[in-house]
Amino acid sequence: MTKTVTDVICPFCGTLCDDVEVVISDDGKQLLEVYNACVIGTEKFLHSQSKDRVTRPRMHQPDGTWKEVSYDEAAEYTAQMLAKAKKPLMFGWSSTNCEAQSVGNEIAEISKACCDNTAATCHGTSLIAIQDIGLPSCTLGEIKNRADRIIFWGCNPAHAHPRHMSRYSIFPRGFFTGKGQMSRKMIVVDPRVTDTAKMADIHLQVEQGRDYELLNALRVAFRGEWLPDVVAGIPKEKIRETADLCKSGRFGIIFFGMGVTQSISKNHNIDEAIAVTKDLNEYTKFSIMPMRGHYNVTGSGEVFAWQFGFPYSVDLTRGFARYNPGDTSTIDLLTRGEIDAMFTIGSDPGAHFPISAVKPIANMPSVCIDPHLTPTSGVSKLHVPVAFNGVECGGNCYRMDNVPIDCRKVVEPPAGMLTDEQFLIKVRDRLKQLKGAA
């Protein structure tokens, strides 16, 4: 006999689909089938079952081999490393739950560390822009029920958020959008003819790195001011047509992604996109939303914010919280040679940082807490495999629109494996002894 678990939350991307169904074996140990999830989400659930999975902490030996150690020994190494370091960096947090993040923040506070999440390489620059001019936004249900103008700017949901368009943005029939896709106009801005762009009513194939200029041109068009003939490779007629299409909607939304946060101008691209949104609220109703990638990167920012006051790039080394990307941000800390110990959890800087920011990690005391084998675990001194969040343990996480959803545990982790939170509690308690903290 098998059991079906419903209303399961997919822990892959910020879309946080919560309608997944999972078939598990009677003893609750095996995950057999996955329904409703996208191909990536399905792989995420199924991979947790792979037989070749590492189930115990391992120390990296100079000859490249790995020596298995106990979780207690792993916690000891981690606590000692954090206690000794003058400027440890605790990075990641996006693939773990808010409960673990809270314990992590306590550890960071006791060890006076820098702490940062994967916004560092995805929407960190969006946060800088939000701090500069705000964020008129809404929940995804508002899009589903009201939106008739959908803009995807520098993002490719067809690949990065596979169910976004069907659940929230393009296809669903909502309260005021009974005709679904027919009631919406879709605009895509991307230097490539992406699979998302192929579906659009209007595709602006912007010259890469000129989003700032194109966004500015839209604002100029709203005000009917003079425009050059061509901006960012787009003729001004096309720009004015797009501006009018935005104005003529009842409720519009701009979704934006790495195309703008990681291209030159970075925060300024988002800043100008938010200004575009603000302008459009003088003619109709418009919102804007970052397409957050990691399933709980948003949650990490929320927890950092209510506990320390800043959403990422937090520096606690002076005993109180400071924030200034460029100084306290992970990539700069690594490439500038500011830190002397690296603690990674729920993310893979080894694969997703520029190599010049990865090399320092290989040359300092380092811990990688991750259920997978990754380039980060490959260059770290200690690898601590843990239970899969959202599959083998529950816990709260936040969707790309900041809506909190409590993840479900669907199967037991392999015998004797700890969750992030359980391991972090070991580290915290040991660290308190070392630091003689209350």
Partner: protein, 266 residues
């Protein structure tokens, strides 16, 4: 004016935070008391004297205190932070936040200064004889109140985001600048003797940008109006006059829209 000379003797393994190195903090202190001030290397609290030789006593007030910083301080942050008077001379290059939040006095960096120099400067003078990093004379994150007064002179080049959210004062750069100049500015004046790349004056509400060299790509929100002759530190020259950012909000005076101004030498 009394002079205190601090000379780097023990390089920090990481970076050093020396926000106590300012005339305001030194004022009224003897060399010994100054050596006893704290500095931070990461989370390790140490003494200024453990890293620097300290010679000379400070004057009674910030105004009559002059600080000379010698040796390699490339990895020292916050020199001259929040200074309100007196003088700081850094003989070499220094790291981030040189003269950040300064409100008076004069700071000279003979070499280069890294990012965030003169953040939210209110007054006084900062001279960087080498190159300046990013966010020179810019606002702190999230603050709409950037540099509001004082003068910055960079003899070399400057990085990106010069004068973001600038409200007043003047920034002069003899060399070239990287992208984004005077973004969101609502006053003040930025003079660039060399070349500018692109994204110049984006979201400019008010204020003035004068460029002697080239601009790779002009923002679409800048509209040519006329040619103007301007006198910039003594020398007269002819400039193409643009107003902008025409996509941005602007104040009105007597029903007249007040735009920011960009002048490009012809």
């Amino acid at each position: 004016m009394e002079t205190v000379t601090i000379t780097m003797k023990n390089q920090p393994a990481l970076y050093l935070e020396a926000d106590n190195v300012s005339p305001d903090v030194f004022a009224g202190k003897t060399a010994a008391q100054i050596a006893d001030l704290h500095v931070f290397e990461g989370n390790a609290k140490g003494k200024l004297g453990a890293y620097f030789d300290v010679n000379g006593n400070a004057g009674a007030t910030a105004a009559d205190t002059r600080i000379v910083v010698k040796g390699d301080v490339k990895k020292v942050k916050y020199l001259g932070m929040k200074m309100s008077a007196g003088e700081v001379v850094v003989e070499g290059s220094t790291d981030q936040y040189a003269g950040a939040w300064m409100s008076g006095g004069k700071m000279v960096v003979r070499g280069n200064a890294e990012a965030f120099a003169a953040t939210a400067m209110k007054g006084g003078e900062l001279v960087i004889e080498g190159n300046a990093g990013n966010y020179l004379g810019a606002a702190y994150r999230g603050d709409w109140r950037g540099m509001s007064g004082g003068k910055i002179l960079v003899k070399g080049n400057a990085g990106s985001d010069v004068g973001m959210y600038m409200l007043g004062g003047e920034i002069a750069i003899n060399g070239n600048v990287d992208v984004h100049v005077a973004t969101h500015a609502e006053g003040g004046r930025v003079i660039i003797k060399g070349n500018a790349k692109s994204k110049i004056g984006g979201q400019l509400v008010d204020g003035e940008i004068i460029i002697f060299g080239s601009i790779d790509v002009m923002m679409p929100g800048f509209k040519y109006v006329d040619d103007k002759e301007l006198e910039v530190d003594g020398a007269k020259a002819k400039f193409a006059h643009y107003i902008g950012d025409t996509g941005e909000r602007h104040k009105k005076r007597k029903g007249q829209m007040i735009y920011g101004n960009l002048y490009k030498k012809i």
